[in-house]
Amino acid sequence: MALLEATAATRPQAGLVGRFPALAVLEYNLVAYRRTWRAGVFSSFLLPLLTMVGFGVGVGAYVEAPVAGVPYLDFLVPGLIASTALQVAIGESTWPVLGNFEWIKIYFAQASTPLRVADILGGQLGFVLFRVLTSSLAFLLVAAAFGTLHSPWALATLPLVALIAAAVAVPVFAYSSSVRSDSYLALLFRFAVIPMTLFAGVFFPVESLPMVLRWLAYASPLWHGVDLCRAATLGVAPAWSVPGHLLYLAAWVAVGWWLAHSAFRRRLVV
């Protein structure tokens, strides 16, 4: 048996995974996802299709006046791309993270290898981004097929949804790794995801909100994402400055990373 022939050649540290160990964590998640990806792809296309039909043909028929100068469906689509990114990002940063600590305990297995906390966190984030990017791409293709995209800038929604996803997923990592029961995760949906989806400019411009709610919308990462995505698909200037939006979302990522790193460390290094 070759068990003992451990030499420099059988201890490879080179290669992409050697240089970026987080990729090994991403790879593990992709291997696990292989079991369910078909269902994932199906729902990634189903949701936007239903949206186009439901809102375009159904609701759109009632909203006859253009919103922000464009047909309602065209106004709505970028908002839905951003809010779908939010939903997928939060879905992938709640139950899976709690489960990896509480049920499967795979994080503890990973922590006993050369991986550092940052690698485990980075790999998990990589998988969230993969899920968000693939479902956003599906949404974008359907949206293009229905002629709701007005500008080649629409392609910019892909990096934008990645940024939105990171801005919400990373702080949620901190939350999911700090609670011990999944009843706390439902609270997050009730008190953060649903209000954000309803009031952060996805379905109607935030300008129609009373001042207090409007400022809450401004504070949420989703509104910044929606404003950027809408500017991209409609080919217009966003309500805020682009660097302002990007910096605000980047700040969520940075603060979130710091919180998530300490929360993961507290669990894994004791």
Binding site: M1, A2, L3, L4, E5, A6, T7, T10, R11, P12, Q13, A14, G15, V17, G18, P21, A24, V25, E27, Y28, V31, A32, R35, I104, K105, I106, F108, A109, Q110, A111, S112, T113, P114, L115, R116, L268, V269, V270
Partner: protein
């Protein structure tokens, strides 16, 4: 094998090693040396601090105080480099139940930067070694406890480690499964792999360990090979006498001077002696008629119970 990095071939060296959780001291200043190629055991009851020690050695738990060197490196600073050369089999299996047996090995190998092709080859080799080759493609979920344990041991070998840490490798397994695990670990030991294991099974410690420490309440209470420990803390043989009647106490007085040490239990009396048959003859010569007599060799269990007491720790 990679050359041991320290002088004298000492792979793990602990001096005054302490682990505290808040006010509670789980490991209370232990000194340990583990040499390359040996099988070293931590024997102790539940709560003795065995897992806390293993986790410090595994570089997932920073020592609160004291010194710890692993392969000449400092766990506080060189955690990833040390972990790259360790194989860890934790007390509770943390396999992914949704992945296949093979995928559990190949994905884990990737955490060590092992190329995919090598990972697949090694997985096949290790699954042969732990006799799980036929289950390679099936999910982990339905496997028996013994199979999961063997898979965890295979996983710990995937990076061809210099030291394998096994925290209670056979707890909860049925006798057949235990013996199979022992046999595999014995093979690893023969191949020169350094094994560090914890157990509260005496037979396991006797079977596998070249040297061991007995831990109790976070401290080391004895140290040596199973043989020397038995010689030092017990006698060569033990006579177990069972007297009919209410209490054994009544008979204990009549056995004075028969043994180096006499232990009275609720259901029997133990005589620690050099010559068991001689002691039994003496008992009969005193006109005592125990309902049952058993002469056996002294075991690590006698040492263990002598050192850590008979009170149940849960």
């Amino acid at each position: 094998m990679v050359e041991p990095v320290t002088r004298d071939g000492i792979l793990i060296q602990a001096r005054g090693l302490v682990k505290r959780f808040g006010d509670f001291t789980a490991v209370d200043g232990i000194d340990v040396d583990v040499r390359a190629g040996e099988a070293f055991g931590f024997l102790g009851p539940n709560g003795a601090g065995k897992s806390s020690t293993m986790r410090m050695v595994g570089c997932v738990s920073p020592p609160t105080d004291g010194e710890l060197q692993i392969m000449g490196m400092d766990p506080r600073r060189d955690g990833p480099a040390i972990r790259a050369r360790l194989g860890v089999c934790p007390q509770l299996d943390n396999l992914d139940p949704e992945l296949t047996v093979r995928e559990n090995l190949t994905t884990y190998a990737r955490y060590f930067g092992i190329p995919r092709r090598v990972a697949r080859e090694r997985a096949a080799e290790l699954l042969d070694f732990v006799q799980l080759a036929e289950r390679a493609g099936s999910k982990v979920e339905p496997l028996s406890g013994g199979m999961k344990r063997r898979l965890t041991i295979a996983r710990a070998m995937v990076n061809e480690p210099d030291i394998v840490l096994l925290d209670e490798p056979t707890t909860g397994l049925d006798p057949q499964a235990r013996h199979l695990v022992w046999e595999r670990l014995f093979r690893l030991k023969q191949q020169g792999v350094t094994l560090v294991l914890t157990t509260h099974y005496m037979d396991e410690a006797e079977q596998l360990c070249d040297r061991l420490v007995v831990m109790d309440g976070g401290r080391i209470v004895a140290e040596g090979s199973p043989r020397t420990l038995i010689e030092r803390y017990s006698t060569r043989e033990v006579v177990e006498l069972r007297f009919a009647g209410e209490t054994q106490e009544a008979f204990a007085g009549k056995l004075d001077g028969l043994a180096e040490r006499i232990e009275v239990l609720p259901d029997r009396i133990l005589l620690y002696v050099t010559d068991g048959d001689g002691a039994v003859a003496e008992v009969h010569a005193r006109a005592l008629t125990p309902a049952s007599v058993l002469v056996r060799r002294s075991s690590l269990e006698d040492v263990f119970l002598h050192l850590t007491g008979r009170t149940l720790v849960d």
